[in-house]
């Protein structure tokens, strides 16, 4: 039977049999539609990408204030369009690890302080010039300069010197860091001619598409760059187009009406309805983003670990996951990292909802009266509902939560990282080190749980400089344990990126790094007739 299916699926891929006929034949052979479909897509993938056509995406997250200067990238549209026209030294590969782009290989000295990146030869910018190590040096220098206001500034702070050396770029660090290759995958670090110093928003990079249309907040477009260096892998459509569609219903309608081929940010509450639409495929990928309830560890009453633990135990994570994310996520374990991270130990005990133990610890903490929790629609989709669910599960443990709904405007400047107990979101970082350094070091600006522990800081630094993976993994395990049992964050769940594609879109690869297959959807997918 499977031989016959294989044969049939190859016939579809070759265009000799229609998809509908194939599914009909498969059903006749007693195969479920899901299995038949997955069989079909692997056959289609094996047959290779189809060149041509215009691939269109309708995306949330674009404003008329956007610029093509990669240093200013913040929202989803510039991010996704940047992947079309530009390339970084390396990329985060779907299965973890890095994919080498402009850097051909990256090696380090034994102390993880000096890193040598070999720059690929024969990679061309859209203006016809070839990428040189000097361009790379200029790019890195521009982003590590305070004046550039680059979003990658924090990532590059640890860099001491950047030099070109024959065909290589040599970077020395102030402190050892075994994760440097991952840092170079930051989406702001698109390599530009002369580092973009001449015209930062020129939109000239080495990506598979040349910028043809740039109307911030409305539309962006590109046409295939003829001299792209790995044309067999990326850049299948002749043209790509991103239309900014900030309204979720309008996005869905555009996909259904066939005006776009893919959309991002499908709301969890409609996913089950969308799934039933003909031609629409939901692309859900588990990621590193999570929605924490942040407590300030240095502010009463949250400075008491018994109280913090009581509040953690009073969280019904399973219920949160089904009601807020409709199951499109994984339960959290009160630490900011999960199995999507490299070097994550997966033997942690899962924290469970335990109202009795929570009540006992709450009593032991000696706190009385209600606890004020601040929330807002902008914290994450469903944040107000999540706060109410939490209020109810806390009530079961005898803990009284008072909810204050804050206005969305100003939530990130006045509430998050300012008020002692509030809801927030984190998009995650490529490595555990980056996640911990960004928000859980004593000195971090964004230490939104006021978690200040010198011993923990030391562990972060030790792990960062450790090149032995087994030892590193052990340190990260211990850090996770501390976070989980003594930290200031309650993590009900990690969310998934939920995107959707329309008819005939093939070649999609799930990638935990970011939505839209880490922004690669437009360059790696193709349109199957």
């Amino acid at each position: 039977m499977s031989n016959e299916l294989d044969y049939l699926s190859r016939r579809v891929a070759a265009g000799k049999l229609s998809r509908r006929d194939f599914l009909g034949r498969a059903a006749a052979l007693g195969v479920t539609a899901t299995f038949a479909n997955s069989l079909l897509s692997s056959a289609v993938r094996a047959a290779g990408p189809v060149k041509g056509g215009t691939l269109k995406a309708g995306l949330q997250g674009g404003e008329s204030t956007n610029s093509l200067d990669p240093a200013t990238f913040l929202s989803q549209v510039p991010f996704a369009f940047g992947k079309c026209w530009g390339e970084t030294l390396v990329e985060l590969a779907p299965g973890g690890g890095v994919e080498y782009l402009i850097a051909e290989e990256i090696g380090s000295s034994k102390d993880a302080k000096t890193w040598t990146m070999k720059i690929r030869k024969g990679v061309q910018f859209h203006n016809g010039k070839e990428v040189t190590p000097d361009d790379v040096v200029a790019t890195l220098k521009r982003h590590s300069d305070e004046k550039s206001k680059s979003g990658a500034l924090g990532v590059l702070k640890s860099i001491d010197t950047i030099k070109a050396d024959a065909g290589n770029v040599v970077v020395t660090l102030k402190d050892p860091n075994a994760d440097l290759p991952y840092l170079m995958a930051d989406y702001h670090l698109i390599i530009q001619p002369n580092g973009g110093n001449d015209k930062p928003d020129a939109g000239i990079g080495t990506g598979p598409y040349k910028v043809t249309v740039n109307q911030p907040g409305v539309k962006h477009g590109g046409e295939r760059f003829a001299n792209y260096w790995q044309a067999d892998k990326y850049g299948h459509a002749d043209q790509v187009e991103i239309i900014v569609v900030n309204d979720p219903t309008a996005r869905m309608a555009a996909l259904q009406g066939g005006q776009v081929n893919m959309i991002n940010r499908v709301e969890p509450k409609i996913v089950d309805l969308v799934k039933r639409l003909p031609g629409v495929t939901i692309r859900a990928a588990s990621g590193r983003g999570f929605y924490p309830f942040n407590m300030f560890c240095d502010t009463a009453p949250f400075d008491n670990n018994d109280l913090r633990m009581a509040l953690k135990l009073a969280m019904d994570r399973e219920e949160m996951l089904t009601k807020i994310l409709r199951g499109y996520g994984e339960v959290g374990n009160d630490m900011p990292v999960n199995k999507a991270y490299p070097l994550f130990a997966d033997d942690f005990e899962q924290r469970k909802f335990d109202p009795e133990k929570a009540a006992a610890l709450y009593k032991k903490s000696g706190h009385s009266g209600s606890i004020l929790l601040r929330t807002s629609d902008v914290a994450f989709p469903g944040a107000v509902d999540a706060a109410q669910l939490y209020q109810q599960s806390c009530a079961k443990a005898g803990i009284k939560i008072e909810i204050k709904r804050e206005p969305g405007d100003g939530y990130w400047t006045e509430v998050w990282n300012k008020q002692p107990f509030s809801l927030s979101y984190w998009g995650g970082r490529p490595t555990q080190d980056q996640m911990y350094s960004t928000a859980y070091l004593s000195t971090a600006d964004w230490n939104d749980t006021r978690f200040k522990r010198p011993d923990f800081d030391k562990m972060v630094l030790a792990a960062r400089g450790e090149l032995d993976e087994a030892k590193r993994k052990k340190i990260y395990r211990d850090m996770g344990e501390i976070m989980r049992d003594e930290g200031g964050l309650i993590v009900p769940f990690f969310n998934q990126f939920v995107d959707a594609t329309g008819k005939g879109v093939e070649g999609w690869v799930d990638n935990p790094a970011q939505e839209l297959s880490n922004g690669h959807a437009l360059i790696e997918c193709w349109l199957q007739a």
Binding site: P216, G217, V218, I243, A250, A253, A254
Partner: protein
């Protein structure tokens, strides 16, 4: 036509200019008392004291407010709105495209909505209190009572998703040919028409009904004129002033108040542009857009006033 009417018109226009000037002062003052410092807003978290000082100097923030106001006004009088702080683009040229789009959409909606509303109003008066009147009023009120996003979604569902005859995404740009542009705005223009229809229709109906009580209408009836002729020749001309007022208010709404429809249909107009820049605290853009919106309102109101004067024989032929 005589000089008194010209004088009245000139008076209105002058008054409008004074008003616009006052509004410009208000807008400028309003954006000055907003909390936060512009330089701080631009530089964000990573601002160092020197960078702040440099930028303040560069933006002229150290000058007194009145001097900055004069500079700003002087620039605008020369068509220079300055540059947007967030994207560094020239405001006048970015607004130009957007304003054109907004006016195009508003014009399309108005061309359908205004005659339709007036005609429906006339019909409603002709068959007043009958079934036709009730049907027209009922439908128009229902379409106005629905929030505009709901109407938009229903139109999208029926015409873009179900039948797929019109696009749900109305993105247009300078290179879009006229016919395509027209096709793109069909759905948003329909949504807007449904939103503004009832207001104008009801006003037409009420204004004409008011006139219908007059003695001269009775005379016309006794002369044996047909009901439609009475309404057309005798009642409507005397009811024009209030109708024009409502029409102008709705036109102003079509230009300045359609951000929801713009978002739903992804139409690149002024509303979305303003909202984006308010969110980024991009003061020069907010000032410029505010001033343009004020100018639109004031102009349309002047037009309404003048139309009312011209339509009124007592004002046209003073004793």
């Amino acid at each position: 036509m005589s000089s008194p009417i010209l004088r009245l018109v000139a008076q209105r226009i002058l008054l409008g200019l004074v008003l616009l000037f006052a509004v410009s002062v208000l807008i400028f003052a309003g954006t000055q008392i907003l909390p936060g410092d512009v330089a701080q807003a631009i530089l964000g978290q990573s601002a160092t004291p020197e960078a702040l000082a440099n930028l303040r100097e560069q933006l002229g923030l150290n000058d007194p407010a009145w001097l900055r106001y004069v500079h700003w006004l002087w620039g605008i009088l020369h068509g220079d709105f300055g540059t947007a702080q967030s994207s560094g683009l020239d405001i006048a040229s970015s607004i130009g495209t957007r304003l054109k789009n907004t006016l195009f959409l508003a014009a399309c909606a108005a061309i359908v909505a205004v005659p339709l509303a007036v005609i429906l109003g006339l019909i409603a008066v002709r068959y007043r209190n009958g079934f036709v009147d009730k049907l027209i009023s009922g439908l128009a009120l229902a379409s106005t009572s629905f929030p505009e996003f709901f109407i938009g979604y229903v139109l999208i569902f029926v015409f873009a998703v179900h039948w797929q005859i019109f696009p749900s995404i109305s993105t247009v740009d300078d290179s879009t040919p006229f016919l395509e542009r027209l096709q793109a705005v069909v759905l948003p223009a329909t949504a807007l028409t449904l939103v503004v229809l009832a207001h104008m229709m009801r006003m037409t109906r009420a204004a004409i009904l008011n006139v219908m009580q007059s003695a001269y209408i009775e005379t016309a009836e006794l002369k044996g004129l047909k009901p439609f002729d009475i309404i057309r020749k005798h009642a409507f001309p005397n009811a024009i002033a209030p109708v024009v007022n409502v029409v102008m208010l709705n036109l102003a709404y079509l230009i300045v108040g359609v951000v929801v429809v713009e978002v739903i249909f992804v139409y690149p107009g002024m509303g979305q542009y303003l909202v984006d820049h308010v969110a980024k605290r991009d003061v020069p853009v907010v000032q410029a857009v505010g001033l343009i919106f004020a100018a639109v309102y004031i102009t349309l109101n002047i037009v309404a006033d003048i139309a009312a004067i011209v339509a009124n024989p007592r004002l046209r032929h003073p004793k």
